[in-house]
Amino acid sequence: MKKSGEIEKYNHSHRILLYDIDSDGKCVPRVKSPDLTSELADEWYMANERAWNRVMGEIIEGKSSPICLYIEYHHMTPEDTASRVGLSVSKVRKHMTMEGFRKLDIPTLEKYAKVFNIPVNGFFQFLEYEGDLKFDSKIYHNGLIQILKVKV
């Protein structure tokens, strides 16, 4: 679920342990903000947003499928996805097209849903919202059924 027009931003709160040289020339571990990551995190979110918008456009045109959307959004490859879902790479490539997506059965969709950590309905419905809504999602039967409560 996405808030219309909002791109995720890194809040710079994360800390990691990095080794550094202290004033005595010793190599010591220090808890620090990750410099490179901080510099690049927002670019990462922007890239995800671009991938989302591009593939969503392709879905609407009937060129790509929601499987393709999540593979690209999560920076995965068909090879890695195939291994996780237990299918051949060529099958996954087929499912990345709208034509192949139409032929998918529910058990296979459930496998994909686990990999992308979404409920199965996440392949069929893309909710966008405006304003400050709150959501309470409960999923059942390994993501096959989702009950979504929207609080205004």
Binding site: L17, Y19, P34, L36, T37, M76, T77
Partner: protein, 358 residues
């Protein structure tokens, strides 16, 4: 939520050595992460252009196979471990629950993607992350993750998804915990064994080196040479993303910085102090300097990556006017990594000699 008493969570540089350190310290043994990392032969290099995961860029592995630090430390320090890949997630969780109830923290290998307490940009499909489970209630677990400052909470559902991913090269349903720890660990013997193994794997005997030229020092050289061909293989945003992702991998994705070389230098420093050895102190200084050079190279990777256009459609024009600068920068990077390979070859030979004198 019930959490195991007296468990002291500490942040770590690397998930495998950080989790192991927290578990060993819970057993009452004072030890540093760098010491376990060094004994466990954590430092390595593998350039695997035939394996593609995130962003289709070739995979560079800076560490030994998953769980090898744990197994090496166990062997060299005489620590008895229960370690098992369970056939099903439910069996693993049953074992984990019983151990937590008995006051014993357990470590598991999980996919980072499902660790929803981490920042979103870290939630990528990386299926060999180590965490400790230190408490539970009906629907969730208390997690001691070395990549976090605080103890985190993870839902049972997400943990289940993270334990068995079917991802390539990743363990499935892997759990370990410490069964028995010796009253007195022979650190000196463990250090000698750890350094020998590290140098053997980085240098490799000539026959093995020829068969596996993408591992160890040869791997660094191959990686350095390959950089020059990247603009032909990867174009536009893919090249930009690949370069930036590599820099973060070397520097800030659980390496302690400088592609693990700084932590290994700190390990050698601790060894020098323990053995009162000026020879090891000199070697640690060299390794730390080597780590700093890796860090500088990562910064250059970022600089080069950020030069490239974000939009693919701009790439052909950009290459026409900036192709020469890109080539020069990639040549600089290639040269730097070649220098690292040569530096580490010499360092590993010196370490081999130094360790034979202990």
């Amino acid at each position: 939520m019930d959490i195991i008493q007296n468990y002291n969570h500490e942040i770590g540089a690397h998930c495998e050595s950080g989790t192991l350190k927290n578990l060993i310290k819970h057993e009452g043994v004072e030890v540093t992460e760098k010491m376990l990392f060094g004994i466990g032969s954590g430092i390595f290099f593998a350039y695997l252009p035939f394996v593609k995961t995130v962003s289709a860029f070739p995979v560079v592995a800076l560490r030994q196979p998953i769980c090898s630090i744990v197994k090496n430390v166990s062997k060299d320090c005489g620590i008895s471990l229960f370690i098992k890949e369970f056939p099903t997630t439910q069996e693993l969780l049953k074992k984990a629950d019983s151990m937590i109830e008995a006051g014993k923290p357990v470590a598991v290998s999980v996919d980072l993607f499902y660790m929803d307490y981490l920042p979103k940009f870290m939630q990528v499909h990386a299926p060999a992350h180590f965490i400790a489970l230190i408490g539970k209630d009906e629907n969730s677990y208390a997690v001691s993750d070395p990549y976090g400052l605080q103890i985190a909470k993870l839902s049972r559902r997400n943990l289940e998804l993270a334990l068995k991913t079917n991802a390539r090269l990743a363990p499935q349903n892997l759990l370990y915990f410490i069964e028995k720890i010796p009253e007195k660990i022979n650190w000196k013997r463990a250090i000698v064994s750890g350094i020998r193994r590290t140098t053997n794997r980085m240098l490799m005997i000539p026959v093995v080196r020829n068969i596996l030229p993408f591992l160890g020092i040869e791997g660094i050289k191959r990686f350095a040479r390959s950089i020059l061909s990247w603009p032909e293989k990867f174009k536009g945003f893919r090249l930009r993303e690949g370069l930036l992702f590599l820099a973060v991998t070397f520097e800030e994705q659980g390496t302690g910085g400088g592609a693990f070389r700084l932590m290994y230098g700190a390990f050698l420093e601790e060894v020098a102090q323990m053995l009162n050895s000026s020879e090891f102190m000199d070697l640690s200084t060299e390794m730390i300097q080597n780590g700093k050079e890796w860090r500088e190279a990562s910064r250059l990777l970022v600089k080069v990556g950020k030069m490239l256009p974000v939009y693919d459609k701009e790439y052909p024009d950009w290459m026409e006017s900036n192709g020469k600068i890109l080539k020069e920068n990639l040549e600089d990077l290639s040269r730097r990594y070649m220098e690292r390979a040569e530096c580490e070859r010499k360092l590993m030979h010196s370490l081999q000699k130094a360790v034979s004198r202990i």
